[in-house]
């Protein structure tokens, strides 16, 4: 309780409150604009937050992360275009409801379910934190190495149908991290005699290129489009309240969100799928799913919004990010010399609580904002796409150049921008590169320190958590191979799949 109160005390500052307000309102706006996701916004703002206090910077980024899905539901429901990748499932039931003339009801349910999922997950995690503080110290070097390896394995396996591509991109990420002068034996790795490669490839330069510049290039090269929208009329508060009629589904959705969010490399999509399947199987009207079922909408939105809070767990407790956004946040920690890991939970539990309380506050701010701002947001999402591309390019420059004032960094970032564009066009995932870079670095350091006390290979897994993690990795790989074989046997014709579902995944 003391830690909780002192966490509250940490937050009671003007600059933190302002960062929270800017982050959450900004996140909603960014989420609502199709073509700009939270990843683009966080990548651009990252260098600017380095000069801020860690709590201020992190609350701003958390605000964007946690609120973008609220905003993303708006175009998903009204114009059938998900504002962020994780709102794709929302279009299935949200847009048919709009076509039936229930736009306000759908929006209210989506916001209500997001709020429900967000709050429930944070409360669960606050209650869970003391337990984590007990478990986290049991993670030594080898456990953290194995957890990072598990993250890599999961991010590769999670890209079904593109496992090979995800594998090569994750390996590329690990390789990128090794370039330059290595700090232990002081030898050069893959510098090709070039001075500009000796200092290595900076993660933020890569992230900005892959997420922000590539998105700008896509928007600039694609033909112009500007969505048309209609105004929403009615009482939003009453519409949001309707979610209470779907408490069971919203609670199940949030639980799936929390569970899946905690596992590195898995995240929103699995949570949404499990939640949606559960809702359909237990529904009295399963045939309505996909044709405007309010239950389906609640299942989708409660699950995705429960993930951000849970995704902070592996980041804060072990220093292992599970997806791209928390990987970016990790760099904020590093810049301020706050090393996330077991010690953080033991010694700075108030800081952890402060982050969670900030997340509760941001959910409240966003819901209040949404009560009034939906129609105003509709004006913003009508920005023509190529003009939007120009603005992202301009903002991307601030992000890259302010890092080290290096023209070389800008050129590298532009190169990764082109690579990101090709990957997006190819429908290949970007996240494995970023996770490979971050987790590769962690694995290299942790393996070296872990091996000091390991004599035989079996020593590596002689502690319970290490054994459990190693077993999980093996089981996952076996299950994956088995799943692929089973899927091959019962395959359906290519034309019966929904090929458009993943158009938005890389935004």
């Amino acid at each position: 309780m003391d830690a909780f109160l002192s966490g509250l005390d940490l937050l009671a500052r003007f600059d933190v409150a302002l960062a929270l307000l800017i982050g959450s309102v900004g996140g909603v706006i960014i989420g609502a604009i199709p073509g700009v996701g939270p990843a683009v916004a966080i990548a651009i703002l990252l260098p600017a937050t380095f000069s801020l206090d860690p709590l201020v910077g992190l609350t701003m980024l958390l605000g964007i992360y946690g609120s973008s899905m609220f905003g993303g539901a708006l175009p998903a429901i009204l114009i059938n275009t998900p504002g962020t990748a994780v709102n794709a499932l929302t279009t299935y039931d949200g847009h048919p409801m709009t076509k039936k003339g229930q736009a306000l009801r759908a929006l209210g349910l989506a916001y209500g379910a997001s709020f429900f999922g967000g709050i429930l997950s944070i409360v669960a995690l606050i209650l869970f934190a003391p337990l984590l503080a007990k478990i986290a110290p049991m993670f030594g070097s080898r456990e953290i190495f194995l957890a990072a390896l598990l993250g890599i394995v999961l991010v590769v396996l999670a890209h079904r149908g593109q496992t090979f591509a995800a594998g090569m991109l994750a390996a590329f990420g690990i390789f990128l991290n090794t370039i330059g002068l290595e700090p232990v034996k002081y030898t050069q790795r893959y510098t090709f005699g070039q001075d500009w490669l000796a200092s290595g490839i900076n993660l933020i330069v890569v992230v900005l290129g892959l997420f922000a510049l590539s998105q700008a290039f896509v928007l600039l090269t694609d033909p112009e489009s500007a969505p048309t929208t209609q105004r929403v009329k009615g009482n939003m508060l009453r519409a949001m309240g309707e979610v209470l009629q779907f408490k069971r589904i919203a609670a199940a959705g949030s639980s799936f969100g929390v569970l899946m969010g905690m596992i590195p490399g898995v995240g929103e999509f699995t949570a949404q799928f499990l939640s949606y399947t559960y809702a359909q199987k237990t529904s009295k009207a399963p045939e309505e799913f996909g044709h405007g079922s309010p239950e389906g909408l609640v299942a989708s939105e409660s699950a995705n919004n429960a993930v951000p809070a849970a995704a902070m767990i592996p980041l804060l407790a072990l220093g292992i990010p599970g997806e791209a956004l928390t990987a970016m946040m990790l760099s904020v920690f590093y810049v301020h010399n706050v090393i996330p890991g077991p010690n953080l939970f033991q010694n700075q539990l108030d800081f952890v609580y402060a982050l969670y309380i900030a997340m509760i506050a941001l959910n409240v701010i966003v819901v209040v904002f949404m009560l009034f701002a939906s129609n105003w947001l509709l004006q913003i999402i009508r920005i023509p796409t190529r003009f939007l591309g120009m603005t992202i390019l301009t903002l991307g420059f601030v992000g890259v150049y302010s890092l080290r004032n290096s023209i070389t960094d800008c050129a590298i970032s532009a190169g990764f921008g082109i690579l990101g564009l090709i990957l997006k066009r190819q429908n290949l995932p970007i996240v494995p590169i970023v996770l490979g870079m971050v987790l590769g670095g962690i694995m290299e350091v942790k393996l070296r320190s872990a091996m000091a006390r390991v004599k035989t290979p079996l020593d590596f897994v002689d502690r319970p958590i290490a054994a459990l993690l190693a077993l999980a990795i093996l089981v996952l790989i076996v299950l994956h191979v088995w799943g692929v074989i089973r899927e091959h046997r019962s395959r359906v014709p290519e034309t019966q799949h929904d090929h458009d579902l993943h158009d938005s995944q890389t935004r």
Partner: protein, 181 residues
């Protein structure tokens, strides 16, 4: 759930035109890096175990990269060809124009200063994109000024003053320009 049939559907991604070109290019790139492994990393002889060798992680990642890239290429080779390969590659090349715009902006900032370069970049790029009415040019200028004020004046991000500011008469105005714009 009408469109979503299996758990796999949620994760599956589908091939697009040009997949063969990218798969081949990436495989050759991985192979090139792997071949360079002995030249580009050092083998430390003295009391260093395998996992602590500087070459250990580059070797692991490049072997994995080449292996997966090979399988990915194989997948592209045995799959049916999707029409539109050339058009796709031309699309990639077309995007290089905007990378060039970006680099021009980057090179301009240290010379004419952040404010002027941003106004010029936003204005000319908007014009190039077809936003040529006075309203759009005004919108791009307002956006440019807002970005500079927000990041340089307000958030104080590190962007050096343009060389052109040296030509200003020494005094308060020059130092204001150098610090805030």
């Amino acid at each position: 759930m009408s469109r979503l049939k299996t758990f796999q559907d949620l994760f599956k991604r589908y091939r697009r035109p040009g997949d063969m070109v990218f798969a081949l290019a990436f495989f050759l790139f991985a192979l090139f890096l792997l071949v360079n492994l002995p030249m580009q990393t050092t083998w430390v002889e003295k009391r260093t175990q395998l996992f602590a060798q500087p070459a250990f992680w580059p070797a692991i990642s490049l072997v994995a990269m080449t292996f997966f890239a090979g399988l990915h290429l194989l997948g592209a080779v045995v799959s049916e060809r999707i029409p539109g390969r050339l058009a796709e590659v031309l699309y990639w090349l077309r995007s290089l124009e905007y990378a060039a715009w970006f680099m021009a902006y980057v090179l301009l900032v240290p010379v004419i200063g952040y404010l002027l370069a941003t106004i010029l970049f936003c204005g000319t790029l908007s014009f190039r994109l077809g936003y040529r009415s006075p309203q759009w040019l005004l919108a791009s200028t307002v956006f440019a000024v807002a970005v500079v004020v927000l990041f340089k004046s307000f958030l104080q991000v590190k962007i050096p003053a343009g060389a052109i500011y040296d030509a200003l008469p020494p005094g308060a105005f020059r130092s204001f320009m150098m610090t805030y714009l």
